[in-house]
């Protein structure tokens, strides 16, 4: 295997006496599509928070393209090439759809504050480029007709899509999706499954997702890690995971395992 684009080495997060995540390691190849599953409170989102720099792991390191990013600030990590969505959608609600996307391109913009005050040529050129890039992305995500709508006025499914589009607008190498199917009906989930696979193929990036919806995970992920109480309890392909007794036990309790035997 070539060097992984994203690698975590034994990351651990302690909150006081509570160990939220213990010694979690993972490697993600350049175009891998990997899922993390586990019961509520297993520490999945904490793993994301450590990778994206919102929390600094108590122990362990995170590498992006072989470079240590463990101590970097969230914004710096995004600029290095990891972007995420949130479990409970965090759009800029009172801003337009277009502005949401434009903000994701902010750190690449090449003009200074004074340029925008005095409306220099550089300002106009760069703003035009931002809009053009945003248009392209919104077109792909079927949101172009709504680009002047406020993000909060979009229906739920479109908000989820906008959040993914916004993350892609930072041009990441790794996309982290935190429960992208939460609150969606089966039809929307099926569309999302297609969208995720399509995004990976089109943008040629690695995707790591957390999900509760088994149909989505089993359909879309090539490799799955299952965590429980902050521990990695199983990894493997969808088939292996489905039949792994430890996974069934984590989800359904020990009794269910006994019954299936």
């Amino acid at each position: 295997m070539s060097t992984p684009v994203l690698e975590t080495q034994g990351i651990t997060m302690r909150f006081g006496g509570l160990v939220a995540v213990n010694n979690f390691s993972l490697q993600l190849g350049a175009t891998d599509l990997v899922g993390i599953i586990g019961p509520n409170g297993a520490g999945k989102t904490t793993i994301f928070n450590m990778i994206t720099g919102i929390y600094t792991p108590t122990e362990g390191r995170v590498f992006l393209d072989g470079k240590d990013i463990t101590e970097l600030r969230p914004a710096h990590i995004t600029q290095s090439g990891i972007c995420r969505t949130f479990q409970n959608i965090r759009l800029f609600k009172d801003l337009s759809v277009l502005d949401n996307i434009r903000l994701a391109g902010h750190f690449r913009v090449d003009y200074g504050v004074m340029s925008s005050i005095f409306r220099t040529k550089q300002y106009h050129v760069e703003e035009a480029r931002l809009v053009q890039e945003a248009d392209k992305l919104l077109d792909i995500f079927g949101l172009k007709s709504k680009k002047d709508h406020l993000a909060k006025n979009l229906p739920y499914g479109e908000q989820r899509r906008l959040e993914i589009a916004r993350a892609l607008a930072t041009k990441p190498k790794v996309l982290l999706l935190d429960e992208p199917a939460a609150g969606m009906n089966p039809k929307e989930t099926a569309d999302l499954t297609k969208l995720i696979r399509w995004v990976r193929d089109e943008f040629q990036i690695a995707i790591l997702l957390i999900e509760h919806d088994m149909s989505l995970v089993m359909n879309v992920c090539e490799h799955i890690h299952c965590v429980d109480y902050g521990q990695l309890i199983a990894s493997g392909g969808p088939k292996d995971i489905q039949s792994n007794p430890k996974v069934i036990e984590a989800y359904l309790g020990a009794d269910a395992v006994a019954e299936t035997k």
């Binding site: 994206t52 919102i54 600030r73 969230p74 914004a75 710096h76 995004t78 600029q79 972007c83 995420r84 949130f86 965090r90 759009l91 800029f92 609600k93 009172d94 801003l95 337009s96 502005d99 434009r102 903000l103 994701a104 391109g105 902010h106 750190f107 913009v109 003009y111 504050v113 340029s115 925008s116 005050i117 005095f118 409306r119 300002y123 760069e126 703003e127 931002l130 002047d148 709508h149 406020l150 006025n153 916004r166 930072t170």
Partner: protein, 292 residues
């Protein structure tokens, strides 16, 4: 007539104060209660320049230099206060900035060179309608143009959702500090103009009550709206004069009326007159359709 001009000038100074506080509180969403402190820094620095060391140039040039110095001094004060305090969130930030605003006042109170508790007298009357409104325009154009660029959007995104902004690769802390320093700087300019209008300043002219009154202006107009800040500033500059028509007693109860206004606004219309919207002539005439 003179009185009307004085009132207009005063409104202009409050417009600068309200628009600059709005950049911090309404647009960036960082709740500051120390704006009067920056106003004071500007006023004292500008006045000290004109009284102790004016250059041999025409008065209006000196006023401009004073405004530049006032802006710089207040912006530096804003940086010094912003860098430690802007790590705090919400209500804690409000109290910390209030504390700093008071510390500034106490420090000035103890500075004998600028009059201390006796006040600072003999400031030349260089300011007038023209210079004040020139600065009003500069302030408004600066803020509006800033907001239409990527840095302004970054400042707004902090108000919307700081964690999401940081996750989009925006250095939120840098932009919070920038908004805070620029807002403080313009408050400093307002201070310079104020000092050169009234010719006498006293530390108590910049006490906590004034921070609250400026806050009330932007809440009345609508937190986050530049138009709202202007309208709020004008209303609250004129209101005390209107109250005077109802007699001295009503006028004395001004702050009681203000505080009730503040409470009623929060209970009934927390978004103020304009909400986060701007006055848009095209939209007003029905030439443009908007979602918002």
């Amino acid at each position: 007539m003179d009185y009307l001009i004085y009132l207009t000038i005063q409104s202009g100074i409050f417009i600068i104060l309200a628009v600059s506080l709005n950049l911090i509180n309404g647009i960036c969403g960082q709740f500051s209660l120390g704006h009067a402190g920056f106003w004071a820094v500007g006023a004292y620095v500008g006045a000290a320049y004109s009284v102790f060391a004016p250059l041999p140039v025409p008065d209006f040039v000196n006023l401009f230099i004073g405004c530049g110095l006032g802006f710089t001094a207040a912006a530096i004060a804003g940086l010094a206060i912003g860098v430690p305090c802007l790590r705090l969130r919400g209500d804690y930030l409000a109290i910390a900035t209030l504390g700093f605003g008071e510390i500034i006042r106490i420090i000035i109170m103890n500075m004998d060179a600028v009059g201390g508790p006796r006040g600072f007298t003999g400031i030349p009357a260089w300011s007038n309608f023209f210079w004040v409104y020139l600065w009003v325009i500069i302030t408004i154009v600066f803020v509006v143009n800033l907001l239409r660029g990527t840095h302004g959007r970054a400042i707004i995104s902090i108000r919307e959702d700081e964690i999401a902004a940081e996750s989009m690769g925006i250095y939120t802390f840098k932009y919070k500090v920038m908004a805070f320093a620029v807002g403080a700087g313009f408050a400093g300019v307002a201070g310079v103009l104020f000092a050169h209008t009234t010719q006498f300043i006293h530390p108590n002219s910049f006490n906590f009550m004034w921070s609250v009154i400026i806050l009330l202006m932007i809440i009345l107009g609508g937190l986050g709206s530049v138009t709202g800040a202007v309208v709020g500033a004008v209303i609250l500059s004129i209101l005390p004069e209107l109250l005077r028509f109802f007699g001295e007693t009503v006028s004395e109860w001004r702050m009681v009326i203000y505080s009730m206004l503040l409470i009623c606004l929060m209970l009934m219309r927390p978004s103020g007159i304009f909400g986060k919207h701007e006055l848009d002539i095209k939209k007003l005439l029905g030439m443009k359709k908007g979602d918002a």
